[in-house]
Symmetry: C2
Subunit: 456 residues, 2 copies
C-alpha cells in the first residue's frame, strides 16, 4: 500500500508487538491475505465469499421499506409524524426498536415463544456473538467451546476479548461427543469451566454440516448435564426451506440453555448490518433484581455501539411487514435460489470432477443446504496454491485452514455457491477441474508450491 504524506514531521511508530495480541494473530493475517488475493484477481470466478447473491439487490427499495415501517408505526402504534421521525432518526434504546417484529417472526417461523423484551437488535450478528460471550465469560476461569473448524467471527471475537477457546472436533455424527464431555470435565478439574458452546447446527460455515434431530436433543441434554450454555448461530437455516427445516435448538430448548443468534444479512440485506440475539434467561442476584439476560446484553451494547442504527432497523421492519411478519416468507425466494445454486455446484462437481472422486485423490461432502461445500485435496490448500489457481485457472476458493483452530484442515478448501450465477458456477467448476488435474495438485508435488510460498 502506498502511504501518503501526513501532518506528521517525526511520526511516532507503534510496534505491532505492543498492540493487542489479536492483531498479530494468524487468523487476522489469513483473512487479510485472502482479501488481498481476491483484490489481485477481480476477474476470477470466486467460490470464496459467503456473501449473498447480488442479483437480489435490484428488487430492493429503501424508501418503500421505510414508508412501510412508518405506516405501521402510524396505523398500528398510533404514532404521530413527529414521533415516527424521532423513532427513525434520533438515538434509540440499546435493545432496539423492531424487537416486536423479530419476536413475531420467531414465533411464526420457528415456533420460538419469547417476549420482545428477550430480543436485542445488534450491529450484525457479529456484535451479538461478541456481546453474548462478553456477558457470559466473566473471568479467565471461563472458557468458550467451539465446533472445529468454525466461523472466524466467533474465534476472532473471543481473541478481541481475551477469552480462551477450546476446540471440539466435528465428527461424522456432527460433534465429537466424547471430546466435548472431556473438555467440560478437564476444565472443571483445573478449576475452570466451559461456559458456553458456539454451534451452527444448520449447514455450518465452513463445513456445511447439519446436526440431525437426535444430535440436537443430545446437545441440549449435555448442556444441562454439564452446565453450559449454547450459542446457536442460525445464519444458514433458512436455506433448507420451511418444509425440510429441522427445529432450531432454541425451539427444542426447555431449560433456557440456548442463546439464539440471528442475522438479517442473508435473509434481508447485508448492507443494513442487522443481527439479533434472543436471550430470555433470567439473571438474578445483585442490586438490580431479576432481569432478562437480554437486558444485560443491551447494557453491554450501550458501551460497544450504543444502539443499532434505527434507520436500518426500520428497513428490516418494513421488509418483514411486507411479508406478513415472516422472515421465512421474506427469504423464500432467496432460499430457493441458494438451494438451486448448491445443487448446481454439486452437479458440476459430479460432471467435471466426478472421475477423480473416490480415487482417494479428492473428495467432498454433499450438504443439503447452506452456502458451502468442503473438499479435500492431495496437497496443501494454502495461500500459495490459491494464488496459483487464481492466476492460472481464474478460480478462487477459501483455504479451510483459516477456520481450523488447531492447525488442521491444511489439505482442505471451501467452495461457496451463494455469490455466483448458475453459468458462472458451471464454468468455474469446469476450470477448477482442470486445476485439480494440474500436476501441482494431481501428483501432490509439494516442492514447487512451497517455493512459491516463500516468494509470495
Amino acid at each position: 500500500m502506498h502511504i501518503h504524506s501526513t501532518t506528521s514531521e517525526t511520526p511516532v511508530q507503534l510496534e505491532r508487538s505492543e498492540l493487542h495480541p489479536a492483531l498479530g494473530d494468524s487468523l487476522m493475517e489469513a483473512m487479510s491475505f485472502l482479501n488481498e488475493v481476491m483484490d489481485r484477481h477481480p476477474r476470477a470466478i470466486s467460490f470464496a465469499p459467503g456473501a449473498p447473491f447480488a442479483g437480489f439487490f435490484e428488487q430492493f427499495d429503501v424508501p418503500a421499506c421505510l414508508a412501510r415501517y412508518s405506516r405501521y408505526l402510524a396505523e398500528d402504534k398510533g404514532m404521530s409524524q413527529d414521533q415516527i421521525r424521532k423513532r427513525l432518526y434520533q438515538y434509540g434504546p440499546s435493545k432496539g426498536i423492531i424487537n416486536d417484529l423479530l419476536a413475531q417472526s420467531l414465533r411464526i417461523d420457528e415456533g420460538i415463544q419469547v417476549p420482545p423484551e428477550a430480543v436485542v437488535v445488534t450491529a450484525g450478528c457479529q456484535e451479538a456473538l461478541l456481546l453474548a460471550i462478553r456477558a457470559l465469560c466473566s473471568s479467565p476461569r471461563d472458557r468458550l467451546a467451539v465446533i472445529n473448524p468454525c466461523f472466524v467471527g466467533i474465534a476472532g471475537a473471543a481473541r478481541v476479548l481475551d477469552i480462551d477457546v477450546v476446540a471440539i472436533e466435528e465428527s461424522a455424527s456432527g460433534i465429537d461427543w466424547f471430546g466435548l464431555v472431556n473438555a467440560c470435565r478437564s476444565a472443571r478439574a483445573q478449576g475452570k469451566r466451559i461456559r458456553a458452546l458456539y454451534v451452527a447446527p444448520d449447514f455450518s460455515n465452513p463445513s456445511g454440516n447439519l446436526l440431525d434431530l437426535a444430535s440436537r436433543r443430545r446437545l441440549l441434554a449435555l448442556a444441562e448435564a454439564e452446565d453450559f450454555l449454547l450459542l446457536e448461530d442460525n445464519a444458514y437455516a433458512f436455506t433448507a426451506g420451511a418444509a425440510a427445516a429441522l427445529p432450531s435448538l432454541k425451539a427444542l430448548d426447555r431449560n433456557g440453555r440456548v442463546i439464539y443468534l440471528g442475522t438479517c444479512a442473508k435473509t434481508c440485506l447485508p448492507g443494513v448490518r442487522i443481527g439479533y440475539a434472543v436471550a430470555d434467561q433470567l439473571v438474578t442476584g445483585g442490586r438490580q433484581g431479576v432481569r432478562l439476560l437480554a437486558d444485560e446484553l443491551a447494557a453491554l451494547k450501550s458501551m460497544v455501539t450504543v444502539n443499532t442504527a434505527p434507520i436500518c432497523q426500520a428497513i428490516v421492519g418494513g421488509m418483514l411487514l411486507e411479508h406478513g411478519g415472516s422472515l421465512a416468507a421474506l427469504s423464500a425466494g432467496k432460499a430457493a435460489l441458494y438451494r438451486n445454486n448448491l445443487a448446481l455446484l454439486l452437479e458440476a462437481l459430479d460432471n467435471h470432477v466426478g472421475p477423480l472422486n473416490g480415487t482417494g485423490m479428492v473428495s467432498w461432502n454433499t450438504p443439503q443446504g447452506g452456502f458451502f461445500v468442503r473438499m479435500r485435496l492431495p496437497v496443501e490448500a494454502d495461500a500459495a496454491l490459491l494464488e496459483y489457481c487464481a492466476a492460472e485457472y481464474g478460480v478462487l476458493w477459501t483455504p479451510m485452514s483459516s477456520f481450523h483452530l488447531n492447525g488442521g484442515g491444511r489439505n482442505e478448501l471451501r467452495l461457496s455457491c451463494s455469490y455466483l450465477t448458475p453459468d458462472a458456477i458451471d464454468e468455474g467448476i469446469r476450470r477448477f477441474a482442470y486445476f485439480l488435474r494440474d500436476p501441482r495438485v494431481r501428483d501432490g508435488q509439494r516442492q514447487p508450491v512451497a517455493a512459491e510460498k516463500a516468494e509470495a
Copy 2:
C-alpha cells in the same frame, strides 16, 4: 418489568455475579436508573439527554441523501448501477466506504491532512473509542488515562475490555498537569504505563470545559515526553462555529500522537450511527510489514461489527456532498441553534437563579459552546433528589456523580441545552429555580432525601 411466559419449563437462572463484572458496575446501574426516571416522567422538561434537537429531523430526506451519494458514485467514480447497488447493499470493507469524503472534510474544515486510508468508519463514535483502546492496550500493563469527570462511554468501553482506567482531575486550567505527569511516572515505577489519554478538548461532556491553545500545545508536548497517545473526542467542537473554533489537537499534532475520534450523530443525524477514527500512525514489526494504525483498527472492527452499514454511510456521504464536502457547512445551522440555546440557558439561569449565584449556595460554569452546563448544589444531587425534582417540579437533569470515577461530583449536576426549544428552556429553568429554593435544596436537608432514597 413484567416477564412474559417463555418456552422454558425449568429455566436456568444465571447469577449476576457470574456475568462479566462490567455488568455489576455502578456506572451501568446509574445509567439504567437514569433512563427509568426519564421513562417515569415523560412530561417533565428534560435537561438530561445530550441528544440532538429533534426539530432538525423535519428537513431530513433519506431518499434524497442516497440519490446524491449514488450520483457521486456514478458521475465522479464512473460506477455502473450494478456496482452502486453492490456498494450500498452488499457487505463492504471493514474500513468503510466514505473514507474519501471524511478525509476531505477533515482537510476543508480542520486543516487535518490525512489520506482516506487513515480513516476508519465505525458504528458510532462509541465503536471508534472501543477499537482504539483495544488496539493500544495490549496487556494488563497498559492503562488508559481519562480526564475526570468523563464521558461514560469511554469508562464503559474500558470496563467491557477489562482495561484499567486512571482518572486525571480537571482543573481551572483544564487539566491537573501535575497529576498527569505523576500518573505516568507512578505507572512506570510499577512496571506499567499510561498508554493513552482520552480527552475532549472542546466543551467536554459532562463539564463543558474548553482547553485553550496553550493547554493543547502543552498536552501534545507532554504526550511526546511521557510517550503516550491522545484519544481526541471531537464531538462538540462544531458548536463553536468556524470563526471561534480552536485548532483540534490532531491539527496541531506534528508527531502522530493523536488518534482523532469523530461522530456524525450531532453534525448529521443520530439515527445513522456513523462515527470515525483517524489513525495515521505507522505500525511496524511482525510479518505484515508497515501498515497504518487504521488498518489495525479495521482488522479489530471485522471481529466486532464486521463493517459499518453502507446504507448509513451513503446517507452521510450524500449529506456531505450536498454541502461541498464540509461537515462544518453541513452543521452550521445546527451549531447556531445550539449556541443560541446555550446562551438562552445561561441567560435563564441568570434571570431565574441569578440571586442565588455567588451566595455559596449554588454556582455554575459558563461555557462558550457545547451542550452542557455544570452546576454545584448545597446538597447531594443524587437519584433521589432527581426523582423529587421530576415529581414536584417537572424538571429533569443528570447527576454528575455518574461521570466521576473516584466518587466525586456528588453535589453536582449537568444541564443540557441541546434537546429543548427556547420556550422550554426558559420555562424549565423557571421551574428549576423554584426547585433550588425548595427547603430540601436550600437548607441542605439531607435527612428526608435519604429517606426517599430508601423507598425508591
